[in-house]
């Protein structure tokens, strides 16, 4: 049996309250254990190195129909980042939408071991799982889009929450999904008719319910089903100046569903939902208003959606928003309507320092992350690839941990954005402990992943070791050294196997695909009416619709006992 001992490292394990203590980590059979036999175990000498749990990404578009369409429309994106094969690794391409294998390698090089694909049209679930199967070195899961799913809208219209819950439970198994994803609730259904909703109280055409009812209804359903993650929400009016009002209203609406102790909603890429002003000319940051509310309430979690100044590709199920972007940029645009389920859009985008709007967006993301006092609420993402490719995370780490780093970037930004930015007034610099929260522990906790994001006994042996000596290196000053260290992990250990050493992939292993097996007291009966609807409204017959077990290469079902 494989045993391993990581010796003399500085351990940052926030879920167990360990802050930079010098200690050893013992691993046996892919799990963390109390101790191993020093003589027979493989020893990793980590003297002077920082050890953290394997990093977790709560929101990154790495697989599925929209990702693949994005790849297809951007040959110019791939030619500038061609990855050759080696004796061990497969060839592929970057840049903003890397091929599956390159996605796995690049995440692993940064010490990531678990990533979540946040938007899966149920009709595209099979495709998504095929792609996830081909992403090595990582554990993955995917969130089906249920906010504009006809059946859910019908149940909510009738006020039948129990029925809705049983249906969602069935959908989790059918799509092999992990959490309820809601994108611009009501807006996507309206987009099918060329319209959108503009507040959380606008009625959805043909259903007569409002986004407020969809969000709160699904949040209640989520609670009834005891799902490990909360609902995962992309707000209405995303990416439109003045939208912070909608965001605040959404958060307030959810107060009624809130219970002590557990968040009821995760608002994703919050940066895009925190614009003040009424047009692009006077658009400014609403980070102050939003963070004030977040600091006073505990019923939600968030991630940043931090802008990186580079050429990237935006892709979201929010079709109407992508249309707005298309009108602004005039770039090539893909629009899609996924039958009765959701919509989608893709547009290439170059975020520029010299654009006042882009520079303000960049500032908003960091302001949010720094003004929200509790790191357990706000996590680090770029909403890959929407605000920037994931392998630029070390840059964000530098901005978060070093005032010097962010001021150096701010100096190069558009003058108007510099004047409006709150960053000069913020002195906070995240410590390594807080960084471990925003990049792994907090995300794992919000996702309800019991064996991830920490190094306690019984946890999965997913470990990242970085070449940073917290006693000698001040990451706030030497941010470039820190950036290099976080971009090239000294070791990444996946399930007790060293997969990356000194920033190079040294071993190929396949990751698991996690999905929820929800046990309700009464299972959904797939009746004739439902089958008839499939026949009438879908291009796929009901019999061919579910993702069968053999579609998932390494299946990791998580059993959840529902209270309905």
């Amino acid at each position: 049996m494989t045993e391993m001992l990581i010796k003399n490292s500085f351990v940052f394990d926030p879920l167990n309250g360990i802050n930079g203590e010098k200690m050893d980590i013992a691993i046996k059979d892919g799990k963390i254990i109390e101790s191993v036999n020093d003589r027979s175990a493989k020893i990793i000498d980590a003297t002077g190195l920082t050890v953290m749990p394997g990093a977790v990404d709560i929101h990154t578009h790495i697989a599925g129909g929209e990702v693949n369409t994005g790849r297809m429309i951007r040959p110019e994106d791939h030619i500038k980042d061609v990855v050759r094969k080696t004796a061990l690794t497969r060839s592929g391409t970057g840049y903003s939408i890397p091929s599956t294998f390159v996605t796995g390698y690049r995440y692993s090089k940064m010490g990531y071991t678990t990533v979540m694909n946040p938007s899966m049209a149920p009709l595209g679930a099979k495709h998504t799982h095929e792609e996830l199967n081909d992403i090595p070195l990582l554990d993955k899961a995917s969130y089906p889009l249920l906010g504009d799913w006809w059946f859910v809208l019908e149940y909510l219209q009738k006020g039948d929450l129990d029925g809705c819950a049983r249906h969602v439970a069935w959908m989790m198994e059918t799509t092999k999904g992990y959490a309820i994803k809601i994108v611009n609730p009501g807006g996507l259904e309206s987009w099918g008719f060329g319209r959108n909703v503009h507040s959380i109280d606008d009625p959805v055409p043909n259903f007569g319910i409002t986004p407020r009812e969809i969000i709160c209804g699904l949040a209640k359903v989520n609670k009834m089903l005891n799902l490990p993650h909360s609902i995962h929400l992309h707000t209405n009016n995303l990416g439109i100046p003045g939208n912070y009002v909608t965001t605040l209203e959404t958060m307030k609406a959810l107060e009624s569903v809130a219970t002590e102790g557990k968040p009821v909603c995760h608002i994703t890429h919050l940066q895009f939902s925190s614009f003040a002003g009424d047009n692009w000319g006077n658009m400014r940051s609403a980070a102050e208003e939003i963070s004030k509310y977040i600091n006073a309430h505990n019923h939600m979690t968030f991630d940043m959606g931090q802008i990186i100044f580079t050429d990237t590709t935006t892709m979201t199920a929010d079709g109407p928003f992508e249309y707005t972007l298309y009108q602004l940029s005039g770039h090539k645009w893909v629009n899609s309507d996924v039958e009765t389920e959701t919509s989608g859009g893709i547009i290439p985008m170059r975020y520029k320092r010299k654009s006042a709007v882009n520079a303000t967006q960049w500032s908003i993301g960091l302001e949010l992350a720094l003004l929200v006092k509790d790191p357990w609420k706000m996590f680090m993402t770029t909403d890959h690839p929407n605000a920037g490719p994931f392998f630029k995370y070390p840059k964000i780490i530098a901005w978060l941990t070093s005032r010097k780093a962010r001021m150096a970037t701010l100096k190069k930004c558009h003058k108007k954005a510099q004047r409006k930015s709150l960053l000069p007034s913020i002195n906070r610099e995240l410590s390594l402990y807080e960084l471990a929260i925003v990049t792994r522990a907090g995300q794992a906790k919000a996702l309800g992943l019991k064996d991830k994001g920490h190094l306690g006994v019984g946890a999965d042996a997913d470990v990242a070791i970085y070449n940073i000596n917290p006693e000698k290196l001040d990451i706030a000053q030497k941010y470039k050294t820190a950036r290099r260290a976080f971009g090239n992990a000294a070791y990444t250990i996946k399930d007790g196997i060293v997969v990356v050493k000194d920033g190079e992939v040294v071993q190929h292993v396949d990751g698991k695909t996690m999905w929820l097996d929800v046990e309700a007291s009464e299972e959904l009966k797939v009746d004739e009416d439902m089958k008839r609807k499939f026949k009438q409204y879908w291009t796929v017959e009901y019999e061919n619709y579910p993702v069968f077990d053999h579609y998932v290469k390494i299946s990791d079902p998580i059993t959840v006992k529902a209270s309905v």
Binding site: I73, R74, P75, E76, D77, I79, G330, H331, K332
Partner: protein, 271 residues
């Protein structure tokens, strides 16, 4: 001052971005011979594929004597110096070049001068498709410099032009000047269909016949002369069209009035 002569007729494409004055500068013949190139999927030395000789200083920096139609990416990204190809040139000649001069005494293949920024390319034969156009999917077209083609060009030439001039002394294929926003293209003879589709700025001047004019252009007037650049003014008269209106564009098409009598009955009444 280096002269390269192919040792054989290449069966596979040779990727030779190392054939560039910037790379050769200050290197001995021996060092140049050891530069790497790819022939198909095999990595080779430049000396394996070419006879390399040094000549007196007055000659251009690099001369290729012989058929180089399978030798790709010659002069890619070059900043200074001069290349002469006495024969046909391969794809991606002078791609992204930022200065210097390339002369082809023969025909040039696809993507010649793709996304170039500065410099001069003269082709004394025909040029193939995608002259000066960016790589597929990209919108980063030619920014500056000048391309002169004595013969004809293929389809999709001058796409996404953002500056500089292209002068074509022969005919042009379809989709000339697709999506250009600045700069000038001049065709001495005839232009193929979909001329200037999606253009938002810049100008295209055609002295010959225009096979088919897009309906998304509106006639603005008639002008006696059209200016390509400071050195070249073309005698007309020309119809001036504005478009592409589908893109809310403000580009100009100058179409010769005498060569295109078929346009008179349609557009004269709007003048």
């Amino acid at each position: 001052m280096i002269v390269l002569t192919p040792l054989k007729k290449f069966q596979f494409p040779v990727q030779a971005e190392n054939i560039s004055p910037d790379v050769f500068q200050g290197k001995s013949v021996k060092k140049i011979a050891s530069l790497t190139v790819w022939e198909g999927n095999k990595q080779k030395k430049l000396g394996d594929l070419f006879k390399i000789e040094e000549t007196p200083a007055e000659a251009p920096d690099i001369t290729i004597n012989g058929d180089a139609s399978e030798v790709r990416r010659v002069g890619q990204g070059m900043k200074t110096g001069e290349i002469i190809i006495n024969g046909n040139a391969g794809m991606h000649l002078g791609e992204k070049m930022a200065g210097g001069k390339i002369t082809v005494n023969g025909n040039a293949s696809g993507w010649t001068g793709s996304s170039m920024k500065k410099g001069l390319i003269e082709i004394h034969g025909d040029a193939s498709d995608y002259l000066a156009s960016p790589y597929r999917g990209s919108s980063e077209g030619m920014r500056g410099g000048k391309i002169v083609v004595d013969g004809n060009v293929g389809s999709d030439s001058g796409c996404y032009l953002r500056g500089g001039e292209i002068i074509i002394k022969g005919n042009s294929g379809p989709f000339l000047g697709f999506h250009i926003s600045k700069g000038a293209i001049y065709v001495e003879k005839n232009a193929g269909p979909r001329l200037g589709a999606n253009m938002t700025g810049g100008k295209i001047i055609v002295s010959g016949v225009v096979e088919d004019l897009m309906p998304t252009f509106t006639v603005d007037g008639v002008k006696k002369k059209a200016k390509v650049d400071d050195d070249l003014k073309v005698e007309g008269p020309f119809y001036v069209f504005l478009g592409d209106l589908a893109e809310h564009g403000n580009g100009k098409l100058f179409i010769s009035q005498p060569s295109n009598p078929q346009l008179g009955p349609i557009y004269d009444k709007y003048l």
